[in-house]
Amino acid sequence: MKKVRIYVLAMLAGIASLTGCGSDNGDDNTGSDFDRKAMLTNYADNLIVPGYQRFAETTTELKTAVEAFAASPSEAMLATARQKYQQAYLTWQELSMYEFGPADEQMLRSNLNVYPTNATQIESNVSSGTYDLQASANLAAKGLPALDYLLYGQATQAEVIAQYTTATTAANRKKYLQDITNLVAQQAQSTYDAWTQNYSTTFKQSEGTAVGSAIGNLVNQLNSDIDITKRYKVGIPAGKFTAGTARPTEAEAYYSHTSLELLLQNLRAEKALFLGMSADNINGIGLDDYLNHVNAKKDAMLLSDAIEQQFNLAIAAAEAINAPIDQAVTTNQAAVNKLYDELQKLIVLTKTDMPSKLGVTISYTDNDGD
């Protein structure tokens, strides 16, 4: 019994000495603890929900405009439909980084924005008049890139209108255009509804930084989105994956040549996510504040500043391209390469440094670790 007592004492002494050891560690972030819930509330209430609301609105307007165009195809109607399509596409760029919860259930990234769109598949669907838009074979024949093709696929407006008036498949094409638009609008609405009905609460109440937590989702999906920006919006058209041979037709929104605006909108939205900044430019509590709270540094500066600065460099590099990506990849390679490099630097910061400082696991499978 005596030995047991000695043993218990030894254990207690050990623990006590550890406690002492820990408490005299003057950590740099004494004071209040970080309000993760306030951060998540900011994201849900000021960025995500208003974003999906705008997306539901713009896609509904698009739907109305497309219906009007289908009812009486004219230059004026086409112009309105195109304008509404652009607004919807730009709004999507502000939301592609939230692919978790409802957006993940709707698989928005693959249902709304797989490009290059498959013109052959679209034409075959149009001419046959029968298609299953939920089939994976049609992933590249629907969504916003398909609308890009259907609204801009011909050299002139007159030729586009002719496809919906005089062409033999005009009726089928109108139906396909509307079916695709309706699906986009419907998915936008479903995502918005799911957020407002209950996911918003789930999101705000999710705690911790583990896989599947709100913070884990934000960080991981922001990184996925930056990866997509770099690889698909810039890298593939620029020939980074094809030994330098540019592939202009693989650029986003190739037919409307709006890839640069979309890219810029996307980059600014990724930066806004990082900062927790709403569309009205109100900078709320965001990942940058969380990084500051844990006093994360990169070299001599705050990691949050380093990341914000790198976002700015990437945005500046994109602005300097000054032409649609599909053209710039052949006419202004230097500018495209510069953007590509800035995005690469950004990825290292957001995908390697940020998660490790926040204790967010970039973990993809639910397999065991040790």
Binding site: N25, G31, V294, V348, K351, G359, T365, G369
Partner: protein, 457 residues
């Protein structure tokens, strides 16, 4: 020395602990394998991946296709059942060791210390007469029955378990763990939502407490478990420690395996009570005579085991043969009971170049790798070389005769800034993996202290 120890090692002791250990080990393995299959991991880890990362020298170990892999897992399950019941025990033990180890050798992406532990315990199981007490083999052939076994047949498992804990503790004696509480201080805040103890994880002293307690626990528990008077308290600590790790980390069955395996430190009387309970259920009688298992190859076995344990003691130190910091280079990291020691993450960009044209393409890693493989490749030099070779061979098939592969890899370790990990100009396609130091790993600058991470007060 072995000669002097021999009388001690070969002295007869009750066979009950060995029989209970056999049942526990077989049962836990059966449960683990069933869980693994039910989670769909056979398909996910051994059927779907396009490429695999075999261990050096075991490149001939290949996955067997969907049917083959499920058959192999079926064999593992069946042989663990054989071990548990003590039915055709030797065959079961050999089959289990071979099939389980084969699976683990297919892809080092899935390397876990506890899989290594299972493999070597299975190897030891082959050598002992664990089926000669309370087993179906005894029912089949009553002549097999013994009441006592040589002490070493139980001691080797205690020693092996002790080594696992002790070396896990030794590995924790490093500045990051003890002085910075890394990586626990980065990991614990992920669990602030747990009831009762969760809110504590926001405090940095809790991370320190866990680090120091963890090290103290690992270093001492083999001794406290061996010492009769501290055993019960020590076992309570085993339960608390492993329950905590089970709650905090995604480590599957391992905590439970350790909780029941450590029962082997308990007295023969304890194990006999367990068996008596089972016997009362099964309504079988314990023969009253005394019979010691004689093991014909015992002298050879003892020498082999001595050699085996010398290896076990030395292997974790092999990292000292390599230059630079172990955690950074990971040369000599595996097979050393370094458990949950690092928060290491990386991003790897691979490029393949055709020397004839000078043109370079970036690789989309996910065209080849699963998410998990990509994550492992980015921080482990030997896997970087292996992946470079996979890319090289693929581009050779695409018609480039001598593709060059280089990688730009950024790694962060235990909260430090991400930095270039390897020489980004090195043609990895021309590098051969070996046990020699990899000179193209950039030096770890030990002068830069880890940055304090994560939101604690």
């Amino acid at each position: 020395m072995l000669q002097k120890l021999r009388p001690f090692l070969t002295a007869p002791v009750s066979a009950a602990p060995l029989a209970v250990f056999r049942i526990i080990f077989g049962g836990m393995m059966l449960a683990s394998i069933a869980r693994f299959m039910l989670k769909g991991w056979v398909t996910e880890l051994y059927v779907l991946p396009r490429v695999y990362f075999p261990f050096y020298g075991f490149e001939w170990v290949k996955p067997l296709g969907e049917t083959g892999m499920y058959a192999l897992f079926g064999l593992i399950a069946l042989s663990s059942l054989g071990i548990m019941l003590g039915l055709f025990y030797r065959w079961a033990a050999v089959l289990f060791f071979l099939s389980f180890t084969y699976v683990e050798l297919i892809d080092k992406t899935n390397y876990l210390n506890h899989y290594y532990f299972v493999s070597i315990v299975a190897l030891l199981m082959i050598l002992v007469p664990a089926h000669r007490h309370f087993s179906l083999d005894v029912l089949r052939k009553p002549g097999l029955w013994v009441s006592h076994v040589p002490r070493w047949t139980i001691l080797i498992f205690q020693l092996q378990l002790g080594l696992v804990y002790f070396y896990a503790g030794v590995a924790k004696l490093n500045p990051d763990w003890l002085l910075e509480a890394m990586p626990l201080r980065a990991w614990l805040p992920a669990h602030t939502h747990l009831p009762i103890i969760g809110p504590l994880f926001d405090y940095v002293w809790v991370a320190y407490l866990f680090c120091w307690f963890g090290a103290f626990y690992d270093l001492t528990i083999p001794f406290f478990l061996s010492w009769r008077k501290s055993r019960l308290l020590a076992y309570a600590k085993v339960i608390v420690f492993h329950m905590l790790t089970a709650m905090l980390f995604q480590i599957g069955m391992f905590p439970y395996i350790m909780m029941v395996s450590t029962l082997i430190f308990f007295s023969p009387a304890f194990h006999e009570r367990i068996l008596t309970f089972f016997r009362s259920i099964a309504r079988v009688q314990l023969p009253q005579n005394y019979r010691v298992a004689t093991i014909k190859s015992q002298p050879v076995l003892l020498n082999l085991l001595a050699f085996y344990f010398v290896l076990q003691v030395l292997v974790p130190w092999r990292f000292m043969l390599y230059p630079d910091k172990l955690f950074w280079t990971e040369q000599g990291y595996r097979f050393s009971w370094r458990v949950m020691l690092m928060e290491k993450a990386g991003t790897a960009f691979f490029y393949v170049r055709d020397p004839r044209t000078g043109k370079e393409s970036e690789i989309n890693n996910r065209d080849y790798l699963t998410a998990n493989q990509e994550k492992m490749v980015a921080t482990q030099p030997d896997m970087l070389v292996q992946f470079a070779h996979i890319i090289r061979d693929d581009y050779k098939q695409k018609g480039i005769s001598a593709p060059e592969v280089r990688a730009e890899v950024y790694v962060t370790m235990n909260g430090r800034d991400s930095r270039l990990f390897i020489d980004p100009t090195k043609n990895l396609a021309a590098e051969e993996d070996s046990f020699l130091p990899k000179t193209w790993i950039l030096p770890f600058d030990g002068a830069v202290p880890p940055q304090h991470a994560v939101g604690q007060k």
